[in-house]
Amino acid sequence: MKRIGVFVCSCGSNIEGAVDVCKVVEAMSKEPYVVYAANCKYMCSSSGQELIGKAAAEYELTGIAVCSCSPRMHEATFRKAAASAGLNPYKVEIANIREQCSWVHKDTAEATGKAITLAKAAVSKLCRDEELYPQSFPVTKRALVIGGGIAGIQTAEDISNAGYKVDIVEKKPSIGGKMAMLDKTFPTLDCSACILTPKTVDISHNENVRIFSYSEVESVSGYVGNFTVKIRRKARYVKEDLCTGCGLCAEKCPTKNVPNEFDLGLGSRSAIYIPFAQAVPKVAVIDPDSCRMLKDGKCGLCSRVCGAKAIDYSQKDEITEEKYGAIAVATGIDPIDVTPFDEYSYKNSKDVITALELERILNAAGPTNGRLVRLSDGIRPKTVVFISCVGSRCTEEDERGKTYCSKICCMYTAKQAILIKEKYPDTDIYVFYIDVRAPGKNFDEFYRRAAEKYGVKYIKGMVGKVCDENGVLTVKAADLINNEQMMIGADLVVLAAAVEPDKTAKALASKLNASIDGNGFFNEAHPKLRPVESPTAGVYLSGACSGPKDIPETVAQASAAAAKIIGLLSKNTLESDPCTAHADELKCSGCSLCANVCPYNAITYIEKEFRMPDKTVKIRRVASVNAAVCRGCGACTVACNNGAMDLHGFSREQILAEVDSICS
């Protein structure tokens, strides 16, 4: 038998001022199932909550309707009060008679009438409330970080410092990411390797951290707190635990002319190689596409010279399975391919390079040992032209470029211009720009320094064409201030290529059930208020995987993601909101309509045995909602053709009861 108590709040004079609360109490006490109705000055005060407790005990209430302010304000308060009175906290309904009644309607009779209607609607919904219990499930106290660039390293470091275990999965043979390739960093001109190397070394010695380098995420299953991840450990053909990183194998390897990925193909490496001097882990790796032994079975020189006996030509990819409570995505960004931009002659001329290539050239450990030279003839360029926004800020129709601003190009262009001017002050440098965007601490000052102190010529306008005639570059550009076209003879042209998400991001997103935007960047749970969380519970976004970012911003986001993960891992169990969808298996036809609209992929299908009236057993495919993943939006409830899906807390019956109550 339903026994309902109605509590009408006066909220001082806030409600009483426009609503005749006594009339509301009187009207409600006549409603079916209502055994108790009372008024209180402040329901949210401790005396108001005591009143709920006393009435619940005295009248053996089974449900509580509170006519008060917005449920967004005090629903939690009254649920707690109900729980301490021994009721199920979900047997509480609130009629919003303050924000949506007394505050917006001046006429007492009208406002009182509406308050009674709202209260009746709340009671009719309450009559159909079920007792709900949050599900609790354990949390695996280990985090996975996908990507070993500066973002992944920072996230892993912060999580491990809080005492939790972390694994880093990096697809390349060494961690360090893009930052390891840079020469200097803006706006302080710190040496990139000098500030990164201590971090990579520390993380490799951190006992809470395991690094799976040269590995990729194969598949992900489970949900927040309980992910199971299969990791493919690609064959290195070198035993990681035995290799000392001495480099003798690379020295002796007869195949020397393989383009070096780390130098973007500007330099060469051997078939067995250590990616760069500060690589972590400092372990050699064999490139099976160029190794003579693996291709033809003839050579084996590295195996003979290796004192540690680490070479193993028979190694195969291995799959390891690990359990995690949280996953951080730190896949970062890559420069786009600029070859489709024919007008800049990148394909035709060796002296038209991308900014990241210039970064390697300027780097002392790079292919030219830090000397700025033209790749075509080895001569130092006297006139350097930088072109900004190559592939950034294009229209959606332009397939070559991206619609967004890549954010970092203005600053690295200013940095590279300064670096060249510092080393070779007699170099003439032109920067063609659409806008110079330098929002950041000391960023605008830095760019102005390039223009004012170093005399870098910033010209507002874009380059229309770079002509390469017999090795002589001519840049044809617009000078919008002078309103004229200009031709510059250049020795070197540097393209500030737009950045895009890493190539693996899209496939990874589908493995994680995390959503990505039209550009392939990971979506945030909320773009302003939850920037480091993915809409998929338990998946966090670290660094530039959610949009172009510079190093300081990446590190800040990486630490923020770590803080969120630490918060999750610090819990022994997670409780899910019980207001989730559920399928009526008898009505479900297994049609998949609900799963198609679910934004969280919370719905899966199971084969279930049903005992039919004629005693036979039939196996049918039915929907099953994972309550830990479902957030209770209700999209599936409407999509279902059979009415099999319903939502706890906002069931079809409840909403229809409210509709009927308001319309009657």
Binding site: S70, P71, R72, M73, N96, R98, E99, Q100, C101, W103, V104, H105, K106, D107, E110, A111, G113, K114, T117, L118, A121, S515, N523, H526, P535, C579, V597, P599, R631, G632, C633, G634, A635, T637, V638, A639, L647, G649, F650, R652, I655, L656, E658, V659, D660, I662, C663, S664
Partner: protein, 149 residues
């Protein structure tokens, strides 16, 4: 609010995260709107089943408002897109049933648009009042009950 002695009944479905909060803001900013607009809270506008709307019209409602987050702002990322499609279909069905399309309105109201909620409710109320009582789909049993009251 009354027009020629006739007081239309309006049901407004508001999503919990944007529109319901917008209606709350209309309250705390004291933007008044007609008292015959009564709000039903739903987690997301995509929880609004066309059945609810038809039931409201059947039960004697003269107008139904569905309020959700602005496209792209949905708390559940894509819910309001589903709403937009479903309501588009429902609009054409209402036409078929002989219910004026103007009796139903889909509107995006964010949590910061209290004034927009109040003015949208008022405008909708005036539109519905001009159309007069909703006689189609009205359940005779409901009607007689109303008269008894």
């Amino acid at each position: 609010m009354q027009l020629n002695g006739y007081k239309p009944k309006i049901v407004a479905f508001c999503c919990n995260w944007c529109s319901y909060a917008g209606a709350d803001l209309a309250g705390s900013s004291r933007f008044t709107y007609p008292d015959n607009v009564k709000i039903i809270r739903v987690p997301c506008s995509c929880r609004v089943d066309p059945v609810f709307i038809l039931r409201a019209f059947g039960g004697g409602a003269d107008g139904v408002m569905i309020c959700g987050c602005h496209p792209g702002d949905c708390h559940y990322t894509s819910g309001n897109y589903h709403t937009r499609r479903r309501m588009k279909l429902l609009f054409s069905m209402l036409d078929y049933l002989g219910i004026e399309k103007e009796r139903m309105k889909l509107i995006w109201i964010s949590a910061s648009e209290g004034e927009k909620f109040a003015s949208a409710a008022t405008d909708f109320m005036n539109t519905v009042a001009r159309l007069g009582e909703n006689r189609r789909l009205g359940d005779l049993r409901c009607k007689s009950k109303t008269e008894q009251n």
